[in-house]
């Protein structure tokens, strides 16, 4: 049974994934920590939402998505000056693929599925680097 740990309740997050299951699971994980989250289905929507002025403390970025993939989206967001923590979350796991994704501008990379301990660690890092 989940017990909400609201230590991250001042944070906001963007889930970028075309897979409905991962959208729901990652959003629920974030909500259980008190993080306000938004979901988009591909990299282009992630870029567009930032063009509209939205900002997030954390972006969970999938790699394989239609229209614009995670690598392209991460490059564009960094080129726009987006400084959010971007964590690549993908089931791809060859070294070459991970390196390519990291080089696009990720702060971290996690293999899917994301777990509660992994997300806890990510959120703690964000809070510790931006004390409120």
């Amino acid at each position: 049974m989940a017990s909400p740990q609201n230590f991250a309740s001042k944070l906001t997050a963007l889930v970028v994934d075309d897979h409905k299951i991962y959208q729901k699971v990652h959003q629920k994980m974030l909500n259980n920590f008190g993080v306000k989250s938004h979901v988009v289905e591909n990299g282009k929507e992630a870029v567009d939402i930032h063009w509209h002025g939205k900002k997030f403390d954390l972006i969970l970025m999938d790699m394989d998505m239609p229209i614009m993939n995670g690598i392209e989206a991460t490059k564009e967001l960094r080129a726009m000056g987006v400084c959010s923590t971007i964590v690549g979350v993908t089931s791809r796991s060859t070294e070459e693929e991970i390196l390519k994704f990291m080089e696009a501008g990720l702060d971290d990379y996690q293999e899917k599925p994301l777990t509660i301990p992994k997300l806890t660690s990510i959120l703690h890092k964000i809070i510790n680097s931006n004390p409120i």
Partner: protein, 151 residues
């Protein structure tokens, strides 16, 4: 008494999924996300998985019909999606069969692909049947507990 027996049956059923290697820790992660706000969260996710799986199995079947002109890249991409989907609920055996299929794909082994796909479908069907029985019992246990609380 009956309620306790049903609850014990539910626990035993779930344990058997792990003992038989059908599910892994990811299923437990999903259960940890379930709460009073989303009391049917796990079942909702599993239902999404069924929908996803049917679509992907159908696409792979279509792609495998072109026996003499198999597009191994397309097959690998589809199976990668099925693997990811299966991972999301902790469907361990299904995922293992998907990975075997992908190895055959990479080796361009048509017969291997055909055999392992049949095994994939078999494992998926078996898991689905067991999960459906599990959630049906879980709902019965849940509704009898709710009825007791309202007395």
């Amino acid at each position: 008494m009956e309620k306790n027996q049903s609850r014990m049956q539910l626990v035993a059923m779930k344990q058997s999924f792990f003992d038989q290697g059908l599910l892994d820790e990811q299923f437990i992660q999903l259960e940890e996300l379930q709460d009073d706000v989303n009391p049917n969260f796990v079942e909702e996710i599993v239902i999404l998985y069924y929908g996803d799986s049917l679509r992907l199995i159908s696409s792979i079947e279509q792609a495998l019909k072109e026996r003499n002109l198999l597009d191994f890249n397309k097959l690998d991409t589809l199976m990668h999606q099925f693997t990811g989907s299966s991972s999301s609920i902790g469907a361990k055996k299904v995922k293992a069969e998907c990975n075997l299929f992908r190895e055959y794909c990479r080796a361009g082994n048509i017969e291997g692909c055909m055999k392992s796909f049949q095994q994939c479908k078999k494992e998926y069907a078996s898991l689905r049947k067991k999960l459906e029985a599990y959630f049906q019992l879980a709902r019965q246990v849940g509704s009898s507990e709710a009825a007791c609380r309202s007395k």
